[in-house]
């Protein structure tokens, strides 16, 4: 053995001898002490069943983060889902603590009334001595004392409890939350998305990736453009990260009217089936494309009205007038050809002499144009 390694080994032994003399455990003894191998039977007994806290979205014993833009309805839908489960007696409301740190006084009162009606605990900052900074301390204490098991904490919104933009803060919050979850607790965090959407037009979570990475499950709520009626909004929960049997997508609608109570707003929430949300989405896409093509449609309509009806002449004329590339005009000309105005068609085509395409405007389009003028 080399002299230096002998020296090292001797000094390590001295540390361990000192620890023994002081009645302390050595590092290896501590590792053995912490080993849970052999305790699986006991742990299995404590294991929580796969019970949903929020149907299809959040499971008991997991950390779920729900991201949405402001005014998308994350609080509303979380409360509605909670209500569904509480009123069907799937969940013990005495173990549910909704920390409402994102509301005004009226909102706190309205939501507390709902909490009393459905049976769960509402906690609000500056009421009964509670402050948001206490929540992490309480989570640590719950984990350490073994009281975390079965406790469900809902944080609305997460940015009131940690700085999502600050990597170290978000990471520390993640460590505390994980210890709470490991001890049998359940955490549901509501957080905001970025103002800017991704290339596909979908919302993206706000802040560093730590919260999303540390969560067991993450959902992003997006509003489905178009809606059902004017005052009715449709939203879709899209799963971004999953651990457990949660849904990939779940959709809801709610109607917001001026002067309505929060209770009425909650009662307006409805689950949307795949068929309905599919139709809503295709309607929204239809409307978006129609809006996008509006300028080109108007220019083509003007050409046909003045007697330029052949395909080549329309393309030539519209291109000169608007500067739009000819291939785009040709594509729109084909896309908007048909007999059903309600399905997006704006003109029909007939084949004349020498195989020449003759375009004519659909009557509802002429009427709509006249109405606009």
């Amino acid at each position: 053995m080399e002299p230096s390694s002998t020296l090292k080994s001797n000094s390590q032994s001295t540390i361990n001898i000192e620890k023994k003399n002081q009645g302390q455990a050595t590092a290896l003894e501590l590792l053995h002490k912490y080993s849970i191998t052999g305790n699986s039977a006991e742990l299995r007994k404590q294991m929580l069943d796969d019970i949903f806290v929020l149907p299809d979205i959040a499971l008991l014993g997991q950390w779920t983060t729900i991201y949405a833009a402001p005014n998308t309805g994350k609080t509303l839908l979380t409360l509605w889902l909670l209500k569904e489960n509480l009123l069907s007696n799937n969940l013990d409301g005495d173990r549910v603590f909704y920390v409402n740190a994102d509301d005004n006084f009226k909102g706190i009162v309205e939501k507390t009334e709902l909490a009393e009606q459905w049976g769960f605990h509402m906690i609000a900052p500056n009421h009964k001595g509670f402050s948001t900074s206490q929540i992490t301390e309480l989570m640590v204490a719950l984990a350490e004392t073994g009281e975390a098991r079965g406790v469900i904490i809902i944080l609305d919104t997460l940015k009131k409890f940690t700085d999502l933009m600050h990597k170290r803060d978000a990471s520390e919050f993640g460590i505390i939350s994980r210890s709470f979850i490991s001890a049998g607790g359940t955490l549901i965090c509501l957080a905001h998305t970025n103002k800017h959407k991704n290339a596909e037009g979908k919302s993206i979570y706000s802040g560093t990736s730590d919260i999303r990475d540390d969560s067991d499950c993450a959902f992003i709520i997006d509003k489905v453009e178009g809606g059902i009626f004017q005052d009715e909004a449709a939203v879709e929960f899209v799963n971004d990260k999953a651990r457990g049997d949660v849904a990939d997508r779940v959709s809801f609608s709610y109607s917001k009217k001026s002067g309505q109570s929060y209770d009425d707003l909650v009662n307006s929430v409805k689950r949307l089936d795949d068929q309905k949300i599919g139709k809503l989405k295709s309607d929204a896409e239809f409307k978006r494309k129609l809006d996008e093509d509006q300028g080109l449609i108007a220019a083509v309509g003007k050409s046909i009205k003045v007697g330029i009806t052949s395909k080549a002449a329309i393309v030539q004329n519209v291109s000169e007038e608007t500067g739009i590339p000819q291939n785009k005009i040709r594509k729109t000309l084909i896309d908007r050809t048909g007999s059903r105005y309600d399905l997006g068609a704006r003109w029909t085509v007939s084949i004349g002499a020498h195989n020449k395409s003759e375009y004519s405007l659909l009557e509802p389009f002429i009427l709509a144009e006249e109405g606009n003028n």
């Binding site: 799937n90 409301g93 005495d94 549910v96 049976g119 769960f120 073994g146 009281e147």
Partner: protein, 195 residues
Amino acid sequence: MRNLSYVPGVDTEFCEDRTSYKASRIDYNPLSDESIARYRRLKLFESASRLVEETRIPSFRHCEIFEKITHGYDHESSWWLVFDNFRVPFYMMEPYGQYEFEIDGLEYHEVPKNIAPYGGVNRFIKGDRKEPDTTSYLFVKTAHYRHLVDVTRRLEATAMSAPYFKSVTAKDRREAKRRVRAEKGSILFGGFYGT
């Protein structure tokens, strides 16, 4: 808020068995009219409320209720309303007289007099009475108030068709004898101080 007397992780829940409501308040003299009527009321209370008695102590969930109550302790018993995924703790006290409670975090309802299990009569007050001298109060935590309302609704519906609290028919007496014969060996006559 007062701290709870138990320490989770240190104290062991359900480590001791206590006698049941029936064993401590009926079986001491099971063939007396008082006990026969009490047994009938207890069974009515159990079936109408769908509550299941907890005889083990300490029950931490029940501690969370009774340690908040400041007065009116008498003839206490612990109960559960059992669901698939969880149990709701109910705590019953049946003191002599009437009490008012205003306790933060708790809600209570009175059990209809004619199916209130204890139905005690104060022997120092002579004369017959329409109602017992004890009042049975069912307590739950505020978050469980919805369940208390459901239980009370069921109890009130049953109470409408239930007889006078002291009612004992010849059939009840015959059934009591049959029951005592069947339970021979498990009944401790004379209660805690009996033989």
